[in-house]
């Protein structure tokens, strides 16, 4: 079904992955700032938890990036085989997120987590074969 050129194919896949990484890191950063949702829900109920999340500008920015990624994925899926587009963008997102989580979220991405990111990245790609 692939009707796009290789450059178009990889440009759309990269766009999906880059916006997905931005969305993941922004929402994860927002959730870290907001704190444990279980605690918030225990104190101020579900409405309080929803309010805490939806009033965070960082979270809203993350959702914007995720929405962009979603529409980029819909666009990509209609032009590129799903067996390439889905695993390729997912694999790239896993690797990109490991880098971005270390860089921006200062997460302790130790050897175990790097290995996990690499194994999952390769595994997701192999699933499409």
């Amino acid at each position: 079904m692939t009707i796009a050129s290789p450059i178009e194919t990889w440009a759309t896949i990269l766009t999906v992955a880059a916006t997905a990484v931005a969305g993941d890191v922004l929402t994860a950063g927002a959730m870290r700032r907001i704190g444990d949702l279980d605690h918030i829900r225990a104190h101020s109920g579900l409405a309080g938890a929803v309010k805490a999340v939806t009033t965070s500008p960082m979270f809203l920015l993350g959702v914007l990036a995720m929405a962009t990624s979603f529409f980029a994925l819909l666009f990509t899926l209609s032009n590129v085989d799903v067996s390439l587009a889905a695993p390729a963008s997912a694999s790239l997102t896993f690797l990109g997120n490991a880098f971005a989580a270390k860089l921006f979220l200062k997460e302790n991405v130790d050897r175990r987590r790097w290995l996990a990111a690499l194994f999952v990245c390769a595994g997701v790609f192999l699933l499409s074969k």
Binding site: A28, D38, V82, F94, N97, R113, G123
Partner: protein
């Protein structure tokens, strides 16, 4: 300090795994019915919102988002993400044992790699200890 998870939190991670892969499968099925979308006809993306499979996929992904955010509020991104990949394994196993599809050796290798990857992080701490957020928190 080692962060471990309660059974209830493992249930949230299970919801993250299942809703993501089921939602993606529904979306992919729906978009196959909608047909190719070109840059010149982006309006077709809005028309896709009328396809029941796409709508069901979006609903599933909303459920995914709620559980994903909950997980991110008590665990690291690099801890939660590999578990989302475990959903692909579930789908592959379902297609093998329920739909009786053939799972190629490549797929089995992929399943093995993902299971190992998830095992690596599941054994470790779920959260990087950070000093309490200071004045930069808004």
């Amino acid at each position: 300090m080692k962060h471990t998870l309660t059974p209830q939190r493992y249930l949230i991670l299970l919801a993250v795994m299942l809703t993501a892969s089921v939602g993606d499968t529904l979306l992919s099925h729906g978009m196959a019915q909608v047909g190719p979308v070109s840059l010149a006809h982006l309006g077709l993306l809005l028309a896709a919102m009328k396809n029941p499979w796409v709508v069901a996929g979006i609903l599933c992904l909303l459920g995914f988002f709620a559980s994903y955010l909950t997980a991110l509020s008590w665990a690291d991104l690099t801890f939660v993400l590999p578990s989302t990949a475990f959903g692909y394994v579930v789908v592959a196993l379902l297609s093998k044992f329920w739909l009786h599809e053939t799972v190629s050796p490549y797929r089995w290798a992929g399943i093995l790699l993902i299971v190992c990857g998830v095992g690596f992080v599941a054994n470790g701490p779920s959260l990087t200890p950070h000093p309490a957020p200071a004045d930069d928190a808004t």
